[in-house]
Amino acid sequence: MGFWDAITGRSKPKQANLDDLFQVPSAALTLQTAAGFTPTGDGSVCFRAATGAAFAQSQAEVVELLRSTPDAPQVDTSTDSFGFTWIQVHRPSDDTGGLVTDLHAVNTTLESAGFGPGLLCSLVPFADASGRKVGLVYLYKKGTFYPFAPTGPQSRDNLLELQIRETLENELPIEPELSGWMALWGAPGL
């Protein structure tokens, strides 16, 4: 938003950037070889559900679309304590490509219905042999990724997160502002 638009109060809802999500499969390979973290096979999209019938209809369409594919994944829908909706997709852990295609289908369906500005982030969880979990979070509005490694209900492993950043720095656009590394406590799959 330009300065003149700002001071005349003409801000528009920010549209989501969907394309960078397709960089996840190659980053998943790097994470596996360099840091020992493998995808759990889950993935989710977090968005704000708008009021009204139109959004409910779009959301139903999304779930129906995901379940209608030949190798249909398992799909769960939940709402978190901040009033954001999560659509979670479960696939075999070696099918990151299929997972990202599923997540992209959610995004494009919502966007084509005019709800693109409601997309917040998507999350692909990883786990290593010792059971540590880290989520790769994609921020739709900034088009950047960041790692989120919760260790308890309100604590996160910052060292591991920074280490993941080092590993993926050359593969993905990483969110440069650490204050933008939003905590997603209780996110599905983590």
């Binding site: 801000s11 704000r48 009204g52 009033g83």
Partner: protein, 307 residues
């Protein structure tokens, strides 16, 4: 191409730009008026520089001034995790830097945003509003305040008030001038009227017009913040019910508490003073009906079926 559910309000933008232009014109009127009265354009320019300078000073200090006036303190994510979590998510949705978060310990339900730029902004809520609203409604209020930050309302309102500030200072100065310089014939111009009297009249008129225009501008900016906030959360109804609760709550609070917060009133989500006379002309906020009407329109657009 994806459809958009966003309806721009061009009428609101046009009215707002007009008022901002008129406020700029007012400063020019003051400068020319004073320059003519003294027959010295330098003094007129000095008045403009003084007014703008003081406004810019106020703007650069706005976060401290407003936090102090509301007796608010900054809170960390550990102290207020829910509040910080909400603001984190809203900022991620809006793609804006996260402001500092403050809490003011007062029972008046209110919220305000201040700070010189989006990078150095503070969003502050009162303990009263935290107790009054549900999480959804609170989020609507925070989205409204974040929109004030994104629209740089503190900058716009303080710079817009520079004509008023200069005129107010001149009014004071002119009273002293009239008192001390009244007998001094050298101050007279051709018409025989004392220079200070002309300055007093010009600055009083500018002050009065600027007062009304600033209130008009303030109301337009509130409507713009409501719009942007409703589109951000996609829940116009939550902001609507929050506004209903807040305005109802403010009217029930005793008068004594209200006067102590009047200084920061223009920055708040709902006016902290409920006056009756000349209400529509001089109020800093639009009427509840007007705000709910706008939110209802946005709600309709968001809920319109896709096909």
């Amino acid at each position: 191409m994806a459809r958009s559910r966003f309806l721009p309000d061009r009428g609101l933008t046009a009215r707002m730009t007009t008022v901002m232009f008129l406020l700029g014109l007012l400063l020019v009127v003051l400068v020319v008026g004073v320059g003519l009265a003294f027959r010295n354009p330098g003094i007129g320019l000095l008045v403009a520089v003084g007014g703008i300078g003081f406004a810019v000073y106020q703007w650069s200090q706005s976060d401290k001034i407003a936090m102090k006036a509301m007796r608010a303190r900054e809170v960390s994510p550990q102290e207020a995790p829910e509040l910080h979590g909400m603001i984190d998510r809203l900022c991620a949705l809006a793609d804006m830097p996260k402001p500092k978060v403050g809490i003011a310990d007062t029972s008046v339900p209110n919220a305000f945003a201040t700070g010189r730029s989006p990078d150095r902004a503070v969003v502050c809520v009162t303990t009263g509003i935290l107790g009054l609203l549900t999480a959804e409604e609170m989020e609507g209020v925070l989205a409204h305040e974040l929109s004030h930050v994104a629209h740089r309302d503190v900058l716009v309102m303080t710079v817009a008030s520079s004509a008023g500030i200069a005129a107010g200072a001149l009014t004071q100065g002119a009273q002293y001038g009239a008192f001390f310089g009244g007998g001094n014939r050298r101050d007279n111009n051709n018409n025989g009227l004392p220079v200070w009297l002309i300055v007093l009249v010009v600055s009083l008129v500018v002050y009065a017009v600027s007062f009304v225009l600033l209130r008009v501008l303030s109301r337009y900016r509130e409507l713009a913040a409501d719009r942007a906030g409703a589109y951000l959360t996609m829940r116009p109804d939550a902001l609507g019910s929050a506004l209903q609760k807040i305005t109802g709550g403010i009217n029930q609070i005793p008068q004594k508490d209200l006067r102590s917060v009047s200084a920061a009133s223009a920055l708040c989500i709902a006016p902290a003073i409920s006056g009756q006379s000349l209400k529509t002309l001089t109020s800093t906020h639009p009427s509840l009906e007007q705000r709910l009407e706008q939110l209802a329109k946005i709600q309709t657009e968001l809920g319109r079926p896709t096909s």
